[in-house]
């Protein structure tokens, strides 16, 4: 009974935090302007970059996943684990890394310049797509790899005993799997890219490469045109909900890194050309993913200790925001680790953080200066954004604990308090640690709502890095990026480790 009451209170809080801001946006519908040419352009750009990003990610992921599924080599497990890392990688860190490789003074242009080719600019549509592929290629690879490894080995054995050629195996077994998985992967990535803000903020910009989210930010931040921001938020809401529903309809969102290492028995693929081709793909994908990160660390590691006080101040803010949103998200997720919670949390993710931010801005404004509440609002929205992942991680274990132990608890007559503190939470510790690590890292690296609200006194570390980039203090930005990377990964490691340590099964 008590657990039910807690779940209902938590659900109402989440629903209120989703619906309240949306209602606040809708309430402004009366004085919204009709979308102008710039707004249509933003909508077009949003859709174009999302389609290109999703398409490129999936197209490149298919051969990468195929190579990873077929080859065994030292470090393969580590590489597959690393494919999960972009999820907790702060966007701004990745952008700095991509700039170091593909930027005007990056490695690529240095090399091209040596050959006498004129430098390429990373800013604009292709830069945005490049960054999105960097983030989503690993996700798509993991989804498709899972599909590959899920092909029953009996089928492969049958194919081998029939003596099917590689082409025939592809048509009989692999193509049907790809036809099922790739549309799912495409739509999931499409939805993610629709509400891309930090990438567009740093690599897009300009009237020709502005996403809706970026336009929302600009109209509020530069023009203080709340009516236009609300109108854009409404458009964003409509396309996000549509795309989100399609994603749900096509299948469940991707899971997390378990069970990717089952051995796939093979009776083919000895041909040298295929081995070479697979090796090439794996090496190229690894270089593409790791070089930017290595460059960030290389450029920034020396500057960490000489960072100015504002950066450390911002780091403290970020730590506070991350810890607060982690605590809040874990309380919510533990209470909502059920079917209802999963739907509710998904509704939260379909909405863009900026839309929620605008809504909260409108709600808070009559009572307080929204800019003073920047960090609070950021922590709140970060908790909400991580909730779907946290719920998905906690739910299976939470339900298993009930199935396995509720009868004993009832037979003993454990009080709800004793059940939660002595049995439920200790048993849930491992997934709770993992979920808390993800939430903390996501919140630590978030550059979204904070950009909307913050004044110089309330910056988080990612925002501070963005400002340093804007001021062309690239050395300091790189140093701060190393700090941010360390803090994000460190928080993840600490929480995840805390959940595992001494956790008896």
């Amino acid at each position: 009974m008590a657990a039910r009451a807690v779940a209902i209170i938590a659900a109402l809080a989440v629903a209120g935090l989703i619906l309240g801001p949306v209602a606040a946006v809708l309430a402004r519908a009366g004085d919204m302007p009709v979308p102008g040419p710039a707004d249509w352009q933003a909508l077009r750009f949003t859709l174009t970059q999302a389609i290109l990003s999703a398409g490129a990610s999936v197209a490149l992921a298919v051969p990468t996943a195929r190579a990873l599924a077929r080859r065994r080599f030292p470090g393969r497990g580590l590489l597959i684990t690393l494919l999960g890392a972009p999820f907790i990688l702060p966007t701004i860190v990745a952008v700095l890394g991509l700039l170091a490789v593909f930027g005007n003074k990056g490695l690529l242009n240095l090399a091209l310049g040596g050959l006498g080719v004129p430098p390429m600019s990373i800013y604009g549509l292709h830069g945005v797509v490049l960054a999105h592929v960097f983030f989503n290629l690993p996700l798509a690879t993991r989804m498709i790899l899972q599909g590959w490894l899920a092909i029953p080995s009996e089928r492969l054995r049958l194919a081998a005993s029939l003596g099917l050629s590689p082409v025939q195996v592809f048509r009989a077994l692999e193509l049907p799997m790809l036809q099922r998985i790739t549309p799912q992967a495409f739509v999931v990535i499409f939805v993610i890219c629709l509400s891309s803000f930090a990438v567009a903020l740093t690599l897009g910009g300009g009237p020709r490469s502005t996403t809706l989210e970026l336009a929302i930010y600009q109209s509020l931040r530069f023009d203080f045109d709340i009516a236009r921001a609300a109108m854009l938020a409404l458009v964003q809401l409509a396309i996000a909900l549509t795309a989100g529903s399609v994603a749900l309809w096509l299948g469940r969102a991707p899971g997390f890194g378990v069970g990717l290492d089952r051995d796939l028995p093979r009776w083919e693929d000895g041909a040298l050309t295929r081995v070479l081709l697979d090796t090439l793909w794996i090496v190229a994908a690894t270089l593409f993913l790791l070089t930017p990160l290595a460059m960030v660390v290389w450029n920034g590691i020396g500057a960490v200790l000489t960072l100015p006080a504002q950066v450390w101040q911002a780091a403290l803010h970020s730590l506070g925001v991350a810890l607060a949103s982690t605590l809040l998200c874990m309380i919510w997720a533990t209470a909502l680790a059920n079917r209802m919670g999963e739907w509710l949390a998904l509704a939260g993710i379909a909405l863009s953080p900026l839309v929620l931010g605008i809504g909260l801005f409108l709600l808070v404004r009559p009572f307080a200066n929204p800019f003073d509440l920047a960090l609070v609002v950021t922590a709140l929205i970060n908790a909400l954004v991580s909730l779907p992942f946290a719920v998905r991680i906690l739910r299976p274990e939470s339900e298993a604990i009930r199935t396995d132990h509720i009868r004993l608890a009832q037979a003993l007559g454990l009080s709800p308090g004793v059940w939660v503190t002595r049995v439920f939470l200790p048993r849930l510790r491992r997934p709770l640690g993992f979920a808390a690590g993800l939430t903390a890292a996501l919140s630590m690296g978030d550059l979204g709502v904070i950009a909307l609200f913050a004044d110089p006194d309330h910056a988080t570390l990612p925002l501070q890095i963005y400002r340093l980039m804007g001021a062309y203090r690239m050395d300091q930005a790189a140093g701060a990026a190393v700090l941010l990377l360390g803090l994000s990964l460190g928080l993840f490691w600490l929480f995840d480790r805390g959940g595992r340590a001494d956790a008896a099964t």
């Binding site: 009080s415 956790a503 008896a504």
Partner: protein
Amino acid sequence: MLQLDHVQSDSDGFRLSADLTLPDTGRIAVIGPSGAGKSTLLDLIAGFRAPSAGRIRLNGQDITSLPPARRPVSILFQDNNLFPHLSVGSNLMLALRPRGGRTRPEDHSRIENALHAVGLDQMGNRRPATLSGGQQSRAALARVLIQARPVLLLDEPFSALGPALRAEMLGVVQDVSGKIGGLTIMVTHDPHGARKFADQTVLVADGVAHTPQDTESLFTDPPPALRAYLG
């Protein structure tokens, strides 16, 4: 006296009827084919399942609508009798103080006594996973000894153990149930165990829990349903 008064339980088209009376001390076996409703019978007595008709009384008190913890009943399940992340001692402490609160010095001596009674001296700090199957069963029996409820139910708790160990455990159960001094009801698959353990036996077959009969005479002259089961 445990009375099942025209009790019926329905679920998914399966019906178990029980109209019988059991003494308030002694050991009773429940035997019958798989799926006949043996566990259902125990669930009804323990309160994990509500009857669709009839009343359950213990010494005249109607316990039909009491939740499991408020019934004067303790139960050993087939598995999950101990919380795996807690030491044996902590498991016993939870049985002693299920609503939390401060532990008293005498709690510890009660736990030590219970461990001693089942032959697990000095094992209080061990986690269940570090114990052998037999030791885990003993720890679970220490748990019901601590609960000391007038009715002790055992739902095939030793079916995973080998024959020798199972016989040994039946000895420990006899010990424990003698110490508690109430009624012990044990579901079993094993005719030898039933004959050795129980004075009386309830046969559950074809959706009916029959009136308890003298174990020896039941097995020497089994009714058709039991004969079919024994093969």
